[in-house]
């Protein structure tokens, strides 16, 4: 098998949970775009060059409003500020990935991060290619979903009768199962609880529209203040 085939074969099974989630969420996004009367190529352009789930839903609202590109930029920075943490977490794993690295960095979504941070590249597989295919497969599901959704909304309005309400829970279940897998390792428990706790506290205090920035601030404070983490006791 060629190195590419080998890396693709190793990456694909890990992306199956994301396949379901992205096809569904991508289709919902495309469907929303189509039902607001936006052409298919808008959805494709967004899924190809923004490629951030919750932000793309917000962008639908932005496109319906007045033309305010600076405001749009600011919204993207705020809502996606959590990516800064993913990047910091992946510095080591994505180190020295050469030609693949720009795409790995661009495609670091919530779901790709959740898979990539817990996945180990199998023995004998080129790790740059492994993470590249992991990322590329995930984006291809997202783009495919967006396309299908847009076409559905444009062409086949009778399919709106299909009721798949609640399937978005697939994402919650995915995050929760990964959380449970990490929980198996004792040393992951305090960070895991700190993250969930800070987010929950912040959600109660600030409400669902503005809780992410304070939650991230709390998490940073926690780890910087806790000497076990800042002085090197909890390595790995």
């Amino acid at each position: 098998m060629s190195p590419n085939r080998k890396a693709l074969a190793a990456a694909f099974p890990l992306t199956i949970p994301v396949l379901t989630g992205y096809l569904f969420l991508g289709t919902s996004f495309g469907f929303l775009m189509g039902s607001k009367g936006f052409p298919v190529w808008y959805s494709l352009l967004m899924s190809l060059c923004i490629y951030a789930g919750s932000m793309q839903f917000v962008t639908v609202q932005l496109l319906l409003g007045a033309f305010q590109p600076v405001y749009a930029l600011g919204m993207a920075l705020m809502i996606n500020a959590r990516h800064l943490f993913y990047g910091l977490s992946m510095l080591e794993k994505y180190r020295g990935k050469g030609k693949c690295k720009p795409y790995l960095v661009f495609a670091l979504t919530d779901e790709t991060f959740s898979i990539a941070c817990s996945a180990a590249c199998p023995e004998g597989v080129d790790s740059g290619r492994f993470y590249f295919f992991l990322s590329l497969l995930n984006q291809s599901y997202w783009v495919a979903g967006s396309l299908v959704g847009s076409l559905l909304a444009l062409g086949l309005s009778r399919l709106t009768q299909l009721n798949a309400g609640g399937i978005e829970f697939v994402m919650t279940a995915l995050f929760f199962v990964i959380f449970l897998n990490l929980w198996e390792e004792k040393k992951h428990r305090i960070p895991g609880l700190a993250g969930a706790g800070a987010a929950a506290l912040s959600l109660v205090l600030f409400g669902k529209d503005g809780f992410l920035p304070p939650a991230m601030g709390l998490i940073l404070l926690f780890f910087l203040a806790d000497s076990r983490f800042s002085k090197g006791g909890a390595g790995g």
Binding site: T20, Y51, M55, V70, R82, I178, F179, L182
Partner: protein, 108 residues
Amino acid sequence: MSHTQAVITILAVALGTLVTRVLPFLLFPDTKDPPQWVRKLGSVLPYAMMGLLVVYSLKDVWPPAPPYGAPEGISLLFVYILHKWKKNTLISIAGGTALYMALVRVFA
């Protein structure tokens, strides 16, 4: 909004998103070792972020009002039991989602 304005808006969102993804890697390129505190942060943040994402994905649940977060709570408990029992990521996710889809209809 014209097509040109829409494309500019989309590109502005894409740029903002890209900045949040690229910044850590620009600050700490391959050739430059990040300081110790950043590396320590990188070793614990993935786990904290997963906890945050679980809460983030539940942010639209409002327990004080009916159905009191019951579909989510029951489904998460089911995912937990399924996962302890079968230890299979796909089964846990599919089972939990199927139950949730049934529950939102029951509680609707």
